[in-house]
Amino acid sequence: MNVALGKSGISWLAALSLLSAGCDMIEYHPYDLDINGKTDVNKENIAEIETVLDGRDGISFAVISDTQRWYDETEDAVASINARGDIDFVLHTGDLSDFGAKLEFELQRDILEKLTVPYVCLLGNHDCVATGKQVFNRVFGDDNFVFKAGNVQFVCVNTNALEFDYSEAVPDLSFLGGAIENSPDDVDKTVVAMHAGPYSEQFNNNIADVFEFYLRRLPGLQFCVYGHGHQLAADDFFDDGVIYYQCPCVKKRVYLHFTIDENGYEYEAVDF
């Protein structure tokens, strides 16, 4: 009897000490918004990118995408990018989560935090499932945003129209209009990033050519980069010379590396 009591006492103590060790092991619901750890990641990282690269004419950045539930591969991508030392920042073109669950965003953020350079994340369609979009907005940031890396402006636009039922403008043409109007004077090149590319089932294809019309008015449009399709692809969707690069999912163990300088841009697909 005493043995039994002793055991129970130990188990209860063990449980309580584990509890006090971390509140992350208490969860009200997988879709609650009780976020552990860092929030507003994009804002902080964009500030770092804009400060560090201010005045630069050439930049080098990596693109990863669709890392949902591929934590091992995401870890490897981070290690591979860290090992290079010639990357200024990393752009993630969406789908950090598979189920839209809070834990997935936290785990992905914790892996990406191991990057030695700043990173910026876009909203993917999987990130919109259930309360996922609200977790994304808190952990990473806005659906649509613009940032500057040296003399290059990055216009990041939500294109997951299927998720929004016309309740929000997706893609938001007034946001794109604003980006055209308000381009800073020291910006002479633009890269557009999105999750779902034109003519995918997520995109509002009725206005695909209007979208392209807006993009072409951005100063010095270089190219577009997107994810969602999980395959490496480079397409001139509108036969106007604007190339859309589709970054493979991280499962394919490939990331894209772009360099932009006064001579134009170059890209490579890097296996890791």
Binding site: M25, P30, Y31, R69, F99, L103, L107
Partner: protein
Amino acid sequence: MVLQTCGVVLAGAADTVAVRRWDKRVNWKYDGWERLKPKNVKVQYAGGMGFLSFGAGWEYGRRNQWNSDFFVGFLPKRYSDKLHFTFTVKQTYTPWSIRVCDWLSYEPLTCGLYFTAINGEDFWQREPGKYPNRYYNFSSKVRTSIFLGQSLTFYPDRYEWLRGIGVFYEIGTNELYIVSKATNRTVSMRDILRFSFGVKMQIFKPH
């Protein structure tokens, strides 16, 4: 006649329960419509069922090893976008109860599973028709959780309607987390395991 036969069979079965000196659990059976009366009520904290959940439980088996619960829980706005309610059906198996003294027993193992639904337009059981077939291929509304736990039960003498008060904890996870862990060596057990705590009151002592 049929009912009577059943009664005889059950009584016969009850007689065959091996005597365990250390397990004094007794299944207080009700007759007729009273069988619908819950045998316990519970409050559970966390466990993916909301902030707090309130449940009613029905015990069965020769030593009350089996328990089925229905919980209604809530997730307050403080931890979400707005107030949500959860609805849980839960099955627990408690193989042993070790009577430490007159007023205390220790249940070294509880295990089971539960299904939790959450209300709100953001959650669906089946994908809305706008998606191509099997686009996401899971339900965001219903989670399946499994757990292991332990409990202590106190037996107060004072109130006839209160047969016992149990305190329990559980450690569990859900199917989305299991599939995440199973497909990634870098996802740890700590990442997916969740603690939950509760109080159970065994009520309605028969006259």
